[in-house]
Symmetry: C2
Subunit: 340 residues, 2 copies
């Protein structure tokens, strides 16, 4: 037995024959002669024991499991549930199922999951890597298991398959939207993530503000943790330390949630007393009474792109040269930004 | 090779020896004599080929994979992402990882996933079943693989391990909240799901309204599909056909989202012109400008309960008799209900 699962040997024992004969019969082979009596005994034994062939069975060697491992860093972040739904849509067309795992952005956990998935012999990986993603994926890359990186960069020198979000353009677009409406004292609230391409969001903010003549200390940047509490705390500090602020640009949706809850509790009227723009578009941003202007990074689109890239690799007999794609972000207007 | 993965045989070939010897050496056995030279050749070959032991390897027979399969019906439904996070918290303590799969509430897909997970020899299942869940889980139940059902009932006669939400009490509590504030013309908007225990929500509405003398045609029930579009459509119809309505009770958060977006577009002021109460508590319900009174079914709590139940089964040498638990729902007041 393998836990509760019956093995080929268990079936053979019950039918009074060898594992080889059982395998032969259950695989429907007709090359050798097998008596009807033996055939019936083996089939009955398999049925009684509820035998299901292990996907690792030697008779299946070379056959794909048709399982893709998807590693996401934060399950509570709607962008990743959207990404997964996008991947699923494509995987479904090819008859593959997904095995979704949450790494919690923890390098050690990420490594453990990858090792476990290797043991399970999954056919491919779609991964949003932690800061040690390069190191953790070394073995699967060396082996050449199909892999596509999504949303964050991998800190390695070689080329690799990548689908990225528009980290730079999204924030540039958002800050520009505010600047065009007369805002000059704009707080940037973000995450201290100096890895994976995410630092491009702050860079875009600083660059375009500079283009509009807002430089030095007039660039108001607060970076913290990737939590709602941090978003609230940074918002409170920004407004207290810089009462001249007319707009807040939240670079991450998780922090934004804490921030807008704070504003609501303080009775600050968004779109009137203070303008708000959010990078990211989880449900709450534009539902019910919420009509926050936001930039949707299009997680579903990223997922679809990544899966199509992965199946391009999987279904190709020859190895293909790594290539990269970018999912375009979309600004979605709401009523949270006023003209100054 | 198994796809890209090197097998024991590949390593043996490269090292110029047998698979048995390779297995012996890599498992660190010291019972037989092996020359240092052979040991070095095998270790070098394994390293060159990036060999990772298949979790199905015979040397690991009897050992657990330490993987739990979690089957959810709708990834876009935040209650299930909460459930998964709850399960993870517990699984992590036991060193298990989760393999999360979305069944899309499709019986055929659900069956396919279960078969695939059986082939992968996962150690246990946590499943929110489709309407054919009883049939689809028959084989794993017969084998006795640890399994806990969550949120929906399984249509079978035998006992089974179950963690349910308070489908009845949640809706009773919600309707009572409205009735106590003077509302008598309350629309119930729900899903035509006549399976799995979900029909208890409408039953609770009808029961308590009856207790308050609201009977027959004064019980205003609209059932549709589990989509935002349906929520919007049913809301529009209810208000058009029953202008006497003073409150709407949304029994499902997905429909509620469509409904409140419709109300917002029509300029209907929730908490003033119309009261709203929602069963379910996804982020958008109480974030920013949204302060909808709701009943939280506590998906995280359900996940924690289900996982603890599963590990109770897994870690027990003896089979244990199935038992059931109920996760309490919590009413969370907002400002969407006015006193009549």
């Amino acid at each position: 037995m393998e836990g509760q699962y019956a093995t080929l040997k268990d079936v053979a024992e019950r039918a009074g024959t060898t594992a080889a004969t059982v395998s032969y019969i259950l695989n429907g082979s007709t090359k050798r002669y097998v008596s009807e009596d033996m055939r019936r005994r083996v089939e009955a034994a398999a049925k009684e024991l509820n035998y299901v062939k292990s996907s690792a069975a030697s008779s299946l060697k070379g056959k794909k499991r048709k399982i893709i491992a998807v590693l996401v860093p934060q399950f509570a972040n709607q962008m990743f549930t959207e990404l997964v739904l996008g991947v699923e849509r494509v995987a479904d067309r090819y008859g593959y199922i997904l095995s979704i795992c949450n790494t919690f952005d923890d390098p050690q956990r990420e490594l453990e999951i990858i090792k476990r998935m290797q043991g399970q012999r999954v056919d491919g990986y779609i991964i949003t890597p932690s800061k040690d993603g390069g190191k953790n994926t070394r073995q699967i890359r060396k082996i050449g298991v199909p892999m596509v990186v999504v949303d964050r960069l991998l800190n390695i020198s070689e080329d690799y398959f990548l689908v990225s979000a528009q980290n730079y353009e999204s924030t540039y677009m958002a800050a520009e939207y505010l600047l065009k409406r007369g805002h000059r004292h704009i707080a940037f609230i973000g995450w201290k993530a100096d890895f994976g391409g995410l630092e491009r969001r702050e860079q875009a903010y600083r660059t375009i503000l500079g283009e509009y003549g807002v430089t030095g200390e007039d660039q108001i940047v607060y970076n913290g943790e990737f939590t709602e509490e941090s978003g609230e705390e940074l918002t409170a500090r920004a407004l207290a330390e810089h009462p001249e602020i007319t707009a807040v640009l939240y670079a991450y949706n998780i922090q934004a949630r804490g921030g807008v809850d704070f504003l609501s509790r303080k009775g600050i009227r968004v779109g009137q007393d203070l303008s708000v723009l959010i990078i990211g578009a989880p449900d709450w941003v534009q539902t019910g009474n919420n009509h926050f202007t936001c930039v949707d990074l299009n997680g579903t689109g990223m997922g679809i792109m990544a899966a199509e890239m992965l199946f391009d690799i999987i279904n190709n007999d020859q190895p293909i040269a790594p290539y990269q794609k970018v999912q375009e972000a979309t600004l979605k207007e709401g009523d949270s930004v006023c003209q100054l």
